[in-house]
Amino acid sequence: MTSNPFITMQEIKKSFNGVPVLKGVTLQVEQGEIHALLGENGAGKSTLMNILGGVHQPDSGAIYINGEEVKMLNPRVSQEHGISFIHQELNMVSDLRVYENMFLGSELRNKFGFLKVEEMCRQTHEILSKLGVDIDPKEYVRNLATSYKQLIEISKALLHKSRLIIMDEPTTSLAEHEVNRLFGLMKNLKNSGVSIIYISHKLKEIKEVCDGYTVLRDGELVRTGSMEHEDIETITKTMVGKAISQERFLHEHPFGPVVLDVNGLTSNAFKDINFAVRKGEIVGFTGLAGDGRTELFESLFGYRKKYTGEVKINGQVVKIDHPRKALKAGMGLVPRDRKENAIIKDLSVLHNMSLSSMGNFEKGGFIQDKEERTKFQFYKEALNIKVHNPRIAIDKLSGGNQQKVIIAKWLEAETELLIFDNPTQGIDVGAKQEIYQQIVELAKLGKAVIILSSEAPEVMRICHNINVMFHGEITARFTADEANEEEIMNYATGSKREVAQIG
């Protein structure tokens, strides 16, 4: 690297709740450079970028712009230093017009305090046409395609005279020709001296547009350099890392008959899904964000109703259009995003545990508190739930313990099939291990288990069979022995796909 970078983040350290997320990371970006920031989920990319964007404060370390130290106290300060952060989820007000979004918070006004609409439209038009986009500035944003919204976000960054733009997976919602347009634009920006930090999982794209790269793994910088001299293979290897001592859970036991059989399931989020799960089997589904796996299983569970295809449970065709029916048919779901979908924060730990199986605790229509307590004591020991008083509200517990309570809830419902969507989301390493152990135990007891996870190593560690999804389709299937992370990555990013479907 040259000695005169535009922006330097020096030895940044950051911990959340005592868990170190960044362990002294250094990042340098030149003026007019497109710099790729790579790493798996949880490697610390977004934390690093949030520090640069002023959302988080580093525990130690410094940020330099053109050699001068700056403190990013809040997002506003960061913006004043010419840094724009384009998030994966677009921050647009869809009921406002294009120009109104562009100037949101920094509207142009005349001396009487009225808005200078024509001036704002003129500037919007100017910037948009520079990008080769032809949109009426007075169009409502809700009427635009996602790719245009993405471009408007970028225009907004330009409008604020940004010198560094952070793009977090900007291409996930774009079609191929739109991606090309975005890349053209990025090259133009680069030529005019704007630097870009580009976060993406799609290595092919990165190879195409980026000049330099930095790879993070578990909060540490593992490799940085120039893109020219690298090939995709080596970078993938660095990202995944060889030395992770995450050995597989060995579990050899015979499978029973097929519990769940899915044929030709199709909706607007996924198409033609076929798979089967046997008793005692752990089946994994992995892929990148937006691959449709969550929608697929929410449909199977009856939370989403608009889908076609055939679902058989124990050989019987079932029509599930409500989670209650899924439960009756013998299906349980531990959903993702615990806070929004799983825990009921005003109810106690005890009441969260019994919520899906009230029938087990009733006598003559009345709830028996004592039985609830006895049962909870059982799960508390079985799952090692750390809580002194089960009557406290569930949101007082740590993430791992909350998740264990939710698992206890579904164990109590005694379903044959259990679906875990991102079961270790936001959970520390120790609790993770315990949850894996539990899942394996369940399979040994003869339950059919499905694991959804965006982390390939996770499914590789505990699953017997792994399905990889891309854009709503199952693109590959591996047994646990065949699977390796690079191959999974290739199918998950769509750079490879199996022509003939198995089974």
Partner: protein
């Protein structure tokens, strides 16, 4: 692992520190009630008179019954603005049924039926039609009042069956029957909310509807049940209201009852967005409103100013509860 233990420990000490504020947040309405009660007895000796005390209970019984239902609706995350109008409608129709049949039993059942049916319709609109409860019940409020006015031709209807007035105007031991009905309904709703799965589901639904649905709870049916319940309780209130004067006015009966009921629930500490609140809280909320009204009459506060005082109390109650 040692790390985890440390965290747990810190959490423990934290709770002991905040125990006092916890006591306040859990029982603030009861504390407020005691303060108000003592203050009133000092301010006016007639307040403590047994007849006056029983009179307060009698006056709050109708609003109290409705407030119990309102608590359940608000715990589920909704609101019911139609209670006053539905009370008038149920009253008018039940008097007609009473006069036509000559049977008190038919009159009572008609009131319950009309009330629960109106509630059922509200529930249907909210659960299946996915209309915001505020809007759905606002529509019902206008509609039910209009039908009551149409049926009664804008005036009042009076009962012609002797004995009907006995319901609200007789007493058992020292209590008036409406007071006993109010207590019975409170006990019923209390058991329903704290001892049955219905109650558990209502709390869950009000706290996090999506998680409740993903926990395999029939959220739609619960909502319909909640609105049907308040409708039925409004039917009970309608019987008392009608029986008290042996007549009901299609234009003025029940007007603004929804505001008093909501006020009682809010003073009782139930959260507007649902999921948190207590039946006992509402009971004391109702009593606080009753004492306030009573005291303002005893101390000759102008009736035109009474609304101001009530409004002030509601706002103060909410401000205190906000500090969590």
């Amino acid at each position: 692992m040692a790390n985890v233990d440390v965290k747990e420990y810190q959490r423990e000490t934290h709770t002991t520190k905040s125990r006092l504020s916890w006591l306040w947040s859990e029982y603030s309405v009861i504390i407020a009630f005691i303060i108000l009660f003592i203050g009133s007895s000092i301010l006016n000796p007639r307040f403590l008179d047994m007849n006056n005390q029983l009179n307060i209970l009698m006056q709050v019984s109708i609003i109290g019954i409705i407030a119990m239902g309102m608590t359940v609706v608000m715990l589920s995350g909704g609101i019911d603005l139609s209670v006053g109008s539905v009370l008038a409608l149920a009253g008018v129709i039940s008097v007609l049924a009473l006069n036509a049949s000559g049977s008190i039993l038919v009159g009572v059942f008609t009131a319950l039926l009309v009330g629960s049916f109106a509630g059922f319709l509200n529930g249907l609109m909210v659960a299946k039609g996915r209309i915001a409860s505020f809007i759905a019940t606002l529509g019902m409020m206008a509609g039910a009042r209009s039908i009551a006015l149409y049926i009664a031709n804008g005036g009042s209807v009076s009962g012609e069956v002797s004995g009907f007035t006995m319901i609200a105007n007789s007493d058992l031991w020292i209590f008036d029957v409406p007071v006993l009905i109010f207590f019975a309904m409170t006990a019923l709703v209390f058991v329903l909310m704290h001892k049955t799965r219905f109650g558990r589901y209502v709390y869950a639904l009000g706290s996090n509807e999506k998680a409740a649905l993903l926990s395999a709870i029939r959220v739609d049916r619960m909502k319909i049940g909640v609105y049907t319940l308040i409708g039925t309780l409004v039917g009970v209130a309608a019987v008392i209201e009608t029986s008290r004067l042996n007549s009901i006015s299609s234009s003025s009966s029940g007007s603004q009852y929804e505001l008093d009921a909501i006020a009682a629930v809010i003073i009782g500490g139930t959260r507007m967005t649902g999921g948190r609140g207590k039946i006992i809280g509402t009971l004391f909320g109702v009593l606080i409103l009753g004492i306030l009204n009573n005291m303002m009459n005893l101390t000759n506060v102008s009736p035109h100013l009474q609304g101001f005082v009530k409004g002030l109390i509601i706002i103060i109650a909410v401000v205190f509860q906000k500090r969590e």
